[in-house]
């Protein structure tokens, strides 16, 4: 009896010390700079919990005005910058992040995507780490129990089932990209580069600990960003929010975020001559009356990527609608068609004047 009491007291003591030991330790800088990536995501201590739901101190969540669509997956994004070393602001393109920065993105599905905060299954967490000699891309794949994510440089296939936001049962084989496939998108002139954190795409409100603040301002105030201009910060339209921009701006924003990482003059698809960056000003460069080059059956027999007024004869739209690997665009990162984006593009192309000028109304 007495010994049992002692055991209970000892157990209580253990719990207390255990709790003390769980007081969050800071992000593991050695793991970030390690030449050989840690086997487990938890080694970085980017999160306080094993399930990577609670970011550690210095790990800041962020959202984008128009995100890349990946079969409708939920995405949880965070940035970690070493203390005292802000990123350098860039008006165009990705901020210049300091060595030791980590961009974190977790891909997930909720069992019922109309209730995206319940029964969320993490599939993979991708880290982009800024090393002295450039960025590296490190994919970590979550186990079924959601207790650990393991480094997986050759990718993985995961069976995923969920009910989509419209109520349809959906299954797909989620393809975690291998190292080469990471570079298939994150490639600028042969080097790995981030895509998302640009001024235009970060310039929006975000809720931090129940307080809403503009992300760019928050980053500056918390020492994560320096070199902001005195002039206004540019802002990208949110693809599906008509209050954020014209139809043309929203369509171009979608194309930039979802396509321009390849379709730019230094990207993997530069040989196509198609440039889908929002900075491009020449309509033929983004597809208006642009003939197919090496599209093969991706051209669907149509003459132009975009034929103004004729979405039904525009093969840019055809390739977005297709799920055939020899036809579809983007080539990777999806198995389903982005129906909302297809509708947006259809409306955009249908409303173009005969010269491809946007229909501002």
């Amino acid at each position: 009896m007495r010994s049992a009491f002692a055991a209970a007291a000892f157990a209580a003591l253990l719990l207390v010390t255990g709790a003390a030991a769980q007081a969050p330790r800071p992000v593991n800088l050695a793991a970030i700079s390690a030449e050989r990536p840690p086997e487990l995501l938890s080694a970085y201590r980017l999160f306080r919990d094993a399930g990577a739901r609670e970011p550690n101190a210095g790990v800041t969540p962020y959202d984008l005005n128009t995100p890349l669509w990946s079969d409708g997956a939920l995405k949880f994004r965070y940035a970690f910058l070493p203390e005292g070393t802000p990123a350098e602001y860039r008006g165009d393109g990705v901020f210049e992040f300091p060595v030791g920065s980590v961009l974190i993105k977790t891909f997930a599905f909720a069992a019922d995507m109309s209730r995206p905060t319940e029964n969320v299954r993490f599939l993979e967490t991708r880290l982009l780490i800024r090393r002295a000699d450039g960025w590296v891309a490190l994919p970590y794949v979550w186990n079924e129990a959601q207790t650990e994510a393991r480094y997986s440089p050759i990718g993985a296939d995961l069976d995923v089932s969920f009910t989509d936001a419209g109520g349809a049962a959906t299954t797909l084989e989620w393809a975690v990209p291998n190292r080469n496939q990471c570079k298939g998108c994150h490639d600028l002139a042969g080097a790995i580069t981030p895509i998302g954190p640009t001024a235009r795409n970060l310039n929006r409100e975000m809720t931090y600990a129940e307080v809403s603040e503009n992300q760019i301002m928050h980053w500056r105030r918390s020492g994560m960003l320096a070199g902001l201009p005195a002039s206004a910060i540019p802002s990208a339209a949110a693809a599906y929010d008509p209050s954020s921009g014209t139809l043309d701006e929203r369509a171009r924003a979608y194309l930039h975020v979802n396509c321009a990482h390849c379709h730019n003059p230094e990207g993997p698809a530069h040989t196509s001559g198609l440039d889908l960056r929002w900075t491009q000003t020449t309509p033929v460069q983004w597809g208006v009356f642009k003939r197919p080059v090496a599209a093969g059956r991706g051209s669907a027999g149509y003459e132009f990527a975009i034929e103004p007024g004729h979405p039904e004869r525009s093969f840019l739209l055809y390739r977005m609608e297709s799920t055939d690997p020899g036809v579809m665009m983007p080539e990777t990162g999806r198995q389903l068609a982005d129906e909302r984006a297809v509708a947006l593009m259809r409306e955009w192309i249908a409303g173009m004047g005969p010269d491809g000028a946007p229909n501002h109304q």
Partner: protein
């Protein structure tokens, strides 16, 4: 002296110890083993493919310099994409100094083997094929280097591509030799490229045998310096099966050699015959374009010392209209374009077309006709055919291509 020799030997051994050989045999693990090898390989390594069919569900990719992928032969080691579910090509190479040899890629959903942004890419004894034969659902390109320097394609085979079997695009310093292209829309195509030697090849049973193109609106244009010689370009008779809209969909069935736009292209010492539409067609780019730097005219073209067989007996495509106009199709047909419109402004360029010393089983010397369509893209109904052979100017031949590794 002795010391130096010993040192050199040690270096060799160290080098040998570092270069590894990865072996992949067909079987349920082969796909993962192969992609892992292609990712984990170090420069200098060799990935050996065993005998048999390796079934792939996704596209493969290689991004490590100086790796060799080698099989047991193009008929023995087969990368089969019959059940491909992912990836826009069978194999994608994006690194320098890579050698691919002695294996086949079959039935890729998109392109078979694409090499992009490489300096040094060798295809040797490689086969790219769609085994069901010509079909518009086949992938576009078989062997497909694009934006590469120092491209060598030899003793290779391409069959069934719905665009071009061997397609070299926007590249520099190119050799395509001793290869076979058949049952493609275009057998061998050199497009928007600088410096290519195409010789010792057989292009047969395609829609068009050998194409030398320059297209507007691409990062690299102004294709020039191409030699096509000692090839067998015969019996190209497969009805055009390219998806409409693509530039090759306009290639008339039964075309031997087609030169479109481009500068300084020399076609000599070839056997070109039994091409139902025409043996050699020289034309401007005929579509409208929006690109101030682009010159759509074919200029400085030499066609000499070829052996022409039968042609013009079944003119197809645009050229079928010629037959209806009562124009007999010659061995060498030129559209006659010397002027083009750039944004509405007429422009011209020095256009020299030299046709000499050819022989023909049909017409003795080899026949020539200009359609007399001086403005690029004029409709054929405006043709005023002129059989006068252009003056025999001396156009210096491009230097022999040497691959620099």
């Amino acid at each position: 002296m002795r010391f130096i020799a010993a040192f050199a030997a040690a270096l060799l051994i160290a080098g040998a110890a570092e270069a590894r050989t990865w072996r992949v045999r067909p079987g349920p693990q082969a796909e993962q083993q192969l992609q892992t090898a292609l990712i984990e390989a170090r420069p200098g390594d060799t990935v050996r493919l065993g005998r048999g069919r390796i079934e792939l569900s996704g596209g493969l990719s290689l991004d490590v310099d100086r790796v060799t992928i080698r099989g047991e032969g193009q008929g023995r080691s087969i990368l089969s994409f019959d059940h491909q579910r992912r990836g826009a090509e069978g194999l994608l190479v994006t690194s320098d100094g890579v050698t691919l040899r002695d294996f086949a890629v079959e039935n890729a959903r998109g392109d078979a083997i694409k090499a992009r942004d490489c300096n040094g890419i060798t295809f040797r004894g490689v086969r790219a094929e769609w085994t069901r034969g010509p079909n518009p659902e086949n992938g576009a390109y078989g062997l497909y280097p694009v934006n590469c320097d120092n491209v060598l394609i030899e003793r290779s085979i391409a069959r069934g591509a719905s665009d071009a079997g061997i397609y070299v695009g926007q590249s520099r310093n190119i050799i395509v030799r001793d290869s076979l292209a058949e049952f493609n829309v275009a057998g061998i195509e050199i497009e928007n490229s600088y410096g290519a030697d195409v010789f010792g090849n057989t292009a047969t049973r395609n829609t068009g045998g050998v194409l030398v193109f320059d297209l507007p609106g691409l990062p690299q244009q102004g294709g020039h310096d191409v030699r096509v010689f000692d090839n067998h370009i015969v019996n190209n008779d497969t009805p055009n099966f390219a998806p409409a809209g693509n530039i090759v969909a306009g290639v008339p069935t039964g075309t031997g050699v087609l030169i479109m736009a481009n500068r300084n292209v020399h076609v000599f010492d070839n056997d070109i015959g039994d091409n139902g539409t025409v043996n050699v067609l020289i034309t401007a780019y005929r579509e409208s374009f929006d690109n101030a730097e682009y010159n759509p005219l074919a200029r400085d073209i030499v066609v000499r010392n070829n052996r022409f067989g039968n042609a013009g007996y079944a003119p197809a495509g645009d050229l079928a209209a010629l037959a209806q106009l009562g124009v007999a199709v010659p061995d060498v047909l030129w559209d006659g374009a010397t002027v083009y419109s750039a944004g509405g402004t007429p422009r011209t360029a020095s256009v020299r077309i030299v046709v000499r010393d050819n022989r023909s089983t049909r017409s003795g010397q080899g026949s020539f006709l200009s359609l007399g369509l001086p403005v690029a893209g004029s409709p054929l109904t405006e043709a005023s055919p002129d059989p006068t052979v252009p003056p025999l100017l001396n156009i210096p031949e491009p230097e022999r291509v040497r691959i620099r590794n």
